[in-house]
Symmetry: none
Subunit: 142 residues, 4 copies
């Protein structure tokens, strides 16, 4: 087991990010994992007739990149999710490359709670998710 | 392509739900899909030393059951996610069976926006997520 | 349970091979299984700016085809991997069809160890992996 | 696209690590991804009769954790794999938690090649893989 020493100080404004291309495989697997087979995500014939003109990724699939950036980088390993607010501000199409950006908005050292702006952007810089998260940073007992 | 005719009226208080057992496979696959390998989720030796005493599911993995209930049942196929608020109020352990419940809190027919309470409970009735969602209900053009 | 009788003689120079097209799904799933989200493999926008001009497969994903040929064909079911040397001599792009070739280089009957050249080639015959493996061939007790 | 600026200096002896519990799901999915259905990995009845007394993980599945540590941490994003040597020094059973450790053994700044010791250990500190890797560190052109 690696030594995991969570950070216990954060600067307002510091940032971390994580990027991934959202593929057809991601959409298929997320449908299977969640049980959300909304035809906007899994039925190309239906989706062609929608305002999007084709299948789009599940909003909560894209949100997973926020999970990655907060769980892996800021605040990082060992952090415990308390809350997440999400506005889905634009569609994510298959093949889009999404960057999740977490930026420290607040830090309460006595409660060990860090609050973050959590936004996602596509490869053209268009915002697709606007959000906020709170996480508890806790050293493991071991 | 099946005919998908979205509902255009909702009663305040009406409910739908969806349940699934969260397995170790779900957690492994969600880590892989999201990129979130926080050791609380994927490293049993670390997780044993945490307050939870073992691996827990990603909060956003459990949230996927809300995606299922809103995308499949209420408001159902064709609905477009506008926003989701989430509080993670308790841990979900591997083997827990989670029920996501969506309940209509508001309906704006002129904007075709339905708002929902979206809560998740484990097999003992303990709440693990408290949330709210807004969805746009839209007939496909085709 | 099928009867598995491992071979206990091998001719220097004998060969076996296994081919598979490396798809975008393979790359997405391998990232998830390994935890390796190097942007060369999962971020098309970044990868376009690299020397490869687009996403390439993980070297160890392609190596899996060697695992298949040694575990399934030569020496085959029941073989125990002792070592593997690998040189990654060329990129594997999404859509390439890779053939893994194992060829017997040595056989120590008293130790039941077979050594193999293990090379991989793309659909144009270009070598992408050059390697060597050693496996222990062992009859099951049952 | 995030700015990815690869490091161009390394200290001999510096270390990074990554840990994950190897689950039955990982073994099943790796068999499907690689095509290696060696009964030692996928046939519990056969594996019970082997020296291991049950299914073990594919050696190259465990090796994926080395891919993660070199692709994500040391040298990190953008690194290109040149070679990997592997000795499989002990079995990995379903449920074992494996830590991959990469440690800088050499750095050739004019060629931008970093060499690493790459070892894997289980939760009892027993070594299961001993290896060495070489990676090319390259700034993207963009």
């Amino acid at each position: 087991m690696p030594e995991i020493t969570p950070r216990l100080d954060f600067q307002i404004g510091e940032k971390a990010e994580f990027s991934k291309t959202i593929t057809e495989s991601d959409v298929v697997m997320y449908a299977g994992l969640s049980g959300d087979f909304n035809p906007l995500h899994v039925d190309e014939e239906y989706a062609k007739t929608s305002r999007f003109g084709g299948r789009i990724a599940h909003g909560l699939l894209t949100t997973g990149l926020i999970s990655a950036v907060v769980g892996m980088k800021l605040p990082g390993p060992g952090a415990i999710y308390l809350s997440q607010q999400l506005k889905f501000t634009g569609p994510v199409r298959i093949g889009d490359t999404i960057t999740a950006v977490a930026q420290v908005a607040g830090w309460l050292p006595e409660k060990r709670i860090v609050t973050l702006k959590t936004d996602c952007f596509n490869q053209r810089g268009e915002q697709v998710i606007a959000g906020e998260a709170a996480l508890l940073v806790e050293p493991a007992a071991g």
